[in-house]
């Protein structure tokens, strides 16, 4: 069980939105994480800003996790091998669909993109169904 945390959820979401705003206003770039990662492996692109963004994201999240009361108990007992097919699907699907929760969800919907609306509806509906069904299956075992 996790508690409903409306204030930190809203504040965290707004901080993500603010990050996306500053990146677009100054650098003209979309803060979509799958897109930022995939661009690392494109030959003709400026890679440095992507590396800086991602390293900074990892370090700041790590500092926030380890040095503030935001720490939580890490998940234990989840079958680790499940992360391989699920991670593969997330990588495959976000490349195929051209974005993830941040790129389509926060940035694409923010600029009223129809493609992003369709993509976001797809992964949210399937995510809801998958998590609900797998919880049922696991409860039944």
């Amino acid at each position: 069980m996790t508690e409903f945390t409306p204030v930190s959820a809203l504040a965290g979401g707004m901080l993500i939105g603010l990050s996306a705003t500053v990146l677009l206003l100054f650098n003209g770039r979309i803060a979509g994480i799958s897109g930022i990662v995939n661009g690392l492996f494109a030959a003709d692109d400026d890679r440095l800003w992507r590396v800086l963004f991602l390293v900074s994201m990892v370090l700041s999240a790590g500092l926030a996790y380890h040095l503030t009361p935001l720490a939580f108990s890490l998940r234990e007992g989840f079958p680790l091998w499940w992360l391989l097919p699920s991670g593969f699907l997330v990588g495959f699907g976000t490349r195929m669909g051209g974005g993830c929760t941040s790129g389509h969800g926060i940035c694409g919907l923010g600029r009223l993109s129809k493609r992003s609306l369709v993509a976001t509806a797809s992964f949210f509906l399937v995510g809801l169904a998958t998590a609900s069904v797998s919880a049922l299956l696991m409860a039944g075992v």
């Binding site: 996790t2 508690e3 409903f4 945390t5 930190s8 965290g12 979401g13 901080l15 993500i16 939105g17 990050s19 996306a20 677009l24 206003l25 100054f26 650098n27 003209g28 979309i30 994480i33 995939n38 800003w49 992507r50 963004f53 900074s56 994201m57 700041s60 790590g62 926030a64 996790y65 380890h66 890490l74 680790l80 391989l84 991670g87 699907l89 997330v90 990588g91 495959f92 699907g93 195929m96 669909g97 993830c100 929760t101 941040s102 926060i106 923010g110 600029r111 129809k114 493609r115 993509a119 797809s122 992964f123 995510g127 809801l128 169904a129 998958t130 998590a131 609900s132 797998s134 919880a135």
Partner: protein, 140 residues
């Protein structure tokens, strides 16, 4: 200067994800699973992010160009195709099982758990595979 913006916005994004609880897969799955003890927090994360971008992007994109770049780098496609939907479906499947999407999985690499490492390696393999299949079908 635009390097500095990348560092700053990356840091804001990482702290935002952590504050929001998106980096905790229990919290994500308790939102996506409607049949358990539902935790609506993540709806507010999306809502909070969108409340900002819906207003700010309109204002930013009305500018002739970004402050530190020659032009906005925006997606150039507007058509709804099958790949967009199938990609979303595959992504939703993996997200609903693991409780990680790309941002939180990468942000959580520094938390001391093996989970995000396995997930991110598999995610990169999935992305490369999709690109490889795409390239192969466009070559033939």
């Amino acid at each position: 200067m635009n390097r500095l913006i990348a560092v700053l916005t990356g840091a804001m994004f990482g702290v935002g994800l952590t504050l929001a609880g998106m980096v905790n897969p229990y919290k994500v799955l308790n939102f996506l699973n409607l049949l358990g003890n539902w935790d609506p927090s993540l709806a507010l994360v999306m809502g909070g992010g969108l409340a900002v971008t819906l207003v700010s992007f309109r204002w930013v994109l009305n500018r002739p160009k970004p402050i530190l770049a020659a032009e906005f780098s925006l997606p150039v496609r507007f058509d709804i195709d099958r790949k967009l939907v199938i990609g979303g479906v595959l992504f939703g499947l993996g997200w609903g099982v693991a409780g990680y999407c790309p941002g939180p999985a990468i942000a959580a690499l520094s938390f001391g758990s093996a989970e995000p490492w396995l997930f991110v390696v598999a995610m990169l393999l999935g992305s490369f595979s999709c690109q490889w299949l795409d390239k192969r079908s466009s070559d033939s």
